[in-house]
Subunit: 183 residues, 2 copies
Amino acid sequence: MSLKYAVLAALHEQPATGYDLTRNFRTRMANVWNASHQQIYRELAKMTEEGLLEVEEVPQESRPDRKLYRLSDAGTASLATWLAEPQGRPPTRDPLLVKLFGGDLVDPASLREEIERHRRNWQEELGRYQDIEAEYFSKPEQVPFRFRLQHLALRKGILAMEANLAWADEVAGVLKDELTSRP
Amino acid sequence: MSLKYAVLAALHEQPATGYDLTRNFRTRMANVWNASHQQIYRELAKMTEEGLLEVEEVPQESRPDRKLYRLSDAGTASLATWLAEPQGRPPTRDPLLVKLFGGDLVDPASLREEIERHRRNWQEELGRYQDIEAEYFSKPEQVPFRFRLQHLALRKGILAMEANLAWADEVAGVLKDELTSRP
DNA sequence: TCGCGCATGTAAGTTGTTACATGATTTA
DNA sequence: TAAATCATGTAACAACTTACATGCGCGA
């Protein structure tokens, strides 16, 4: 229902190519919206056809020409309308938690390894967010409102990763009990 | 990629009807896996055809007969195989955070209302999880391992909601600044 | 009597994933 | 010289959402 609006919001910030958007969704907006390049290119074509975007072809040598997309007036209007609507919450679908319902089929030792792997990923992701925070949002009082909003989006990612890491500790505690009492 | 395994895990715990699964996914497993009843009925039919599930029809008066599903041997084997595989992380797609990238098109006052609405939802959800925790998992040391694993899944939901609420406070702070300095 | 809970589904449409496809340039 | 980055896509498939559909019993 809204890769469309994620794209509109990203392009409202500044015009970009499909490649740029793909990179942004993977890095700076990783805790906001995920989308593969295939999805993005398809969506950009569709939205352009619908008149929400304008394209400027920027010729290049020895590479495919860049297609720089920006919002049309209709695109801006569509984004503004959407922004005024109340939004629902994203659905939760976590394969790792499904595992915990596997009961007697779950092997505690391999579960422990998996949790540690996830812990490392969460730690890395937290690090990346903290780097962005330090680089772009270190003076929160002096920054324009739109940057403060972006900072808040990032903060949600940071708090979520911290919660994940705290949870990993709880899991480690339970698994340690289990693995020492019944080795 | 794995409503299938969420269903297998739920049915491994105990046999259930589509209706039961729908209810579980909405309540006890709300922080684990979301699925609508339409999706679940369709998936149950497909999985039965694939030989992963067995159905027992339980006749009822004045209601449609219940179809009680349980794992076949193939279903148990399929779940066990899946449990041994490392799992990826769920993608993040949060419309509320997309809003924060709307920049000058975002109205701070209506954003504040929306955050407060989300806060109330998160608070309610946290309350439900805490009720479940108090009712089923209040004596963590004496409980069998599979219940401790389920408790951990619930704990992740609790920590996530607490992080959401802490974030709502941060947002409220920023919006208060903005709304008082430029009213 | 109105809405909720029980209990099942079908159909159409949208969104997301996975696999395939190309090719030059820069960096290690 | 191998891998990553830049830069674009198509096609097939799987998963998810939304709308439609039925009907009884129970409690407020």
